[in-house]
Amino acid sequence: MKEFIALGIVLIGGIFMAFQYYLHIPLMKDLYNTFLDWGIVISVFALFIGIKSLLQRQIREIKEKKEHLIFPLTTIISFGVVIILWLIWGAKKDSPPVNFIYTTFQVPLQATIFSLLAFYITSASYRAFRAKNFSATILLITASIVIIGRIPLGDYLAKITIINVGKHSFSLLNFPQWVQWILNVPNVGVKRAFKFGITIGIILTSFKIIFGVEKNWLK
């Protein structure tokens, strides 16, 4: 019964929203607006569930692995301290200490964690980027053209290798233009093929969810 009701909600909501795109009936428009309003309110609660799961995980870690107590505790304490600092200034208002923590710690440290990738990609370029066969060679050549063509050196090389043939002049090493051609022509063909595949996948999954074929979310 529970499953039946949930699948019924998906079916009705899904079919209605799919049809309203093509049918312009005033009553449908009103209902579409109401559903959007409801969806926005419900999504607020859904996002809180994410934060709840994060904290639950830390608590589970504390219960299970006592030797690494410091790490889940760090998350919980830092979370708690920021929340307390916020509440002291009043829930509705911006809290200066929270803004300070955000600007001083969160912003640079998030950027730093992500920047670790720069080291890995440099190391990977040296260790794994080999012209082992035809396909790998094509990949390597294209990537190298992009690497040169997107920096000022590419512009400089294009400038110094200009030659004149009759009335026309062209550059022998016009990396920036080669990059633009790669992006505008073969890249467009390939990425468009991906888009078709991904979109057909999304549409089919949407239909599967609406008609109750895909039921993993119910488990």
């Binding site: 607006n33 309003d37 911006d94 950027a111 992500f114 440099t122 040296y126 997107r150 000022p152 512009d155």
Partner: protein, 272 residues
């Protein structure tokens, strides 16, 4: 013999630190998608409203904040009224506000008159579509909680279609969402600034003119700065980028030389 990873990491750091400390600047030639981005905004008149979505978080601010700075400067300088929002990412709110406010103050522009900063609203794609039907149902007040009905925006804007452009500054798939729900469904023209990782994904939309202009990564931001004749963060960063790219090319070549050398040696060894 292979270079140890510690040496590779140190070389990378040196290649970046030297140009940044010395402040080397280099000439950058703008490419067509960036010129189109620039021209699209130049077609607008003073007093026109555009909506700017900050769809990124601090982890990718390196590439996107220079774009946001130049974009804000460009719009405010031309008297175009930008309305900033961050529907897609919560974490950019205060960072984005700081950037916009600083540039607004530098140009003597007033918040809630010459530009608006609305901040985060929940609902993601549902909120996007709701804005297409009734903008103020999603945002009835600004970043500080002041109601918008006392400002000019309330008279000029009713739905998303009233904006001349939606400009997405994004580090993920949000531009595709906006293309789907804002451009296709509510017919708002779009331009975007995206991270270099995502840039190549958007070229099919440039060809189909769904996206009228694109800034791709730090280079895109640097080209945009060049068009506006600003020596900003992106142009300064491009010199470091150049040295790092040269190092990476050198490492790729070195890696391949080693590979072919050892492969030849192995083959010869087998033949013996």
């Amino acid at each position: 013999m292979k270079l140890p990873k510690q040496i590779v990491y140190t070389l990378l750091l040196i290649s970046l630190i030297i140009p940044l400390v010395l402040g080397i600047s280099m000439e950058i030639k703008p490419t067509l998608p960036v010129i189109n981005f620039y021209n699209a905004l130049n077609k607008l008149h003073s007093g026109n409203f555009v909506i700017v979505s900050l769809s990124y978080d601090p982890s990718t601010k390196a590439e996107l904040t220079p774009m946001l700075k130049t974009l804000t400067y460009h719009l405010l300088k031309r008297g175009i009224i930008p309305v900033f929002m961050n529907l897609k990412n919560i974490a950019i709110g205060d960072l984005g506000y700081k950037v916009v406010k600083t540039i607004g103050e530098d140009l003597n522009k007033k918040e809630n008159k010459d530009f608006y900063y609305l901040g985060y609203a929940p609902g993601d794609n549902m909120a996007v579509q709701k804005m297409g039907e009734d903008f103020f149902k999603v945002y009835d007040h600004n970043f500080h909680g002041d109601l918008l009905d006392k400002y000019e925006i309330h008279d000029k804007i009713k739905v998303l279609k009233d904006f001349k452009y939606l400009i997405d500054i994004s580090d993920g798939n949000s531009t595709i969402d906006y293309l789907t729900y804002v451009n296709t469904k509510y017919k708002v023209p779009m331009i975007a600034g995206v991270t270099a990782v995502m840039a190549s994904e958007y070229y099919p939309y440039i060809q189909s003119k769904q996206l009228l202009g694109l800034l791709g990564g730090l280079r895109g931001a640097a080209e945009y700065e060049t068009l506006l004749d600003i020596n900003g963060d992106a142009r300064k960063g491009m010199s470091a980028q150049t040295f790092a790219h040269i190092l990476i090319l050198f490492l790729i070549i070195l890696g391949n030389i080693e590979f072919f050398y050892f492969r030849k040696k192995r083959k010869n060894g087998n033949a013996d």
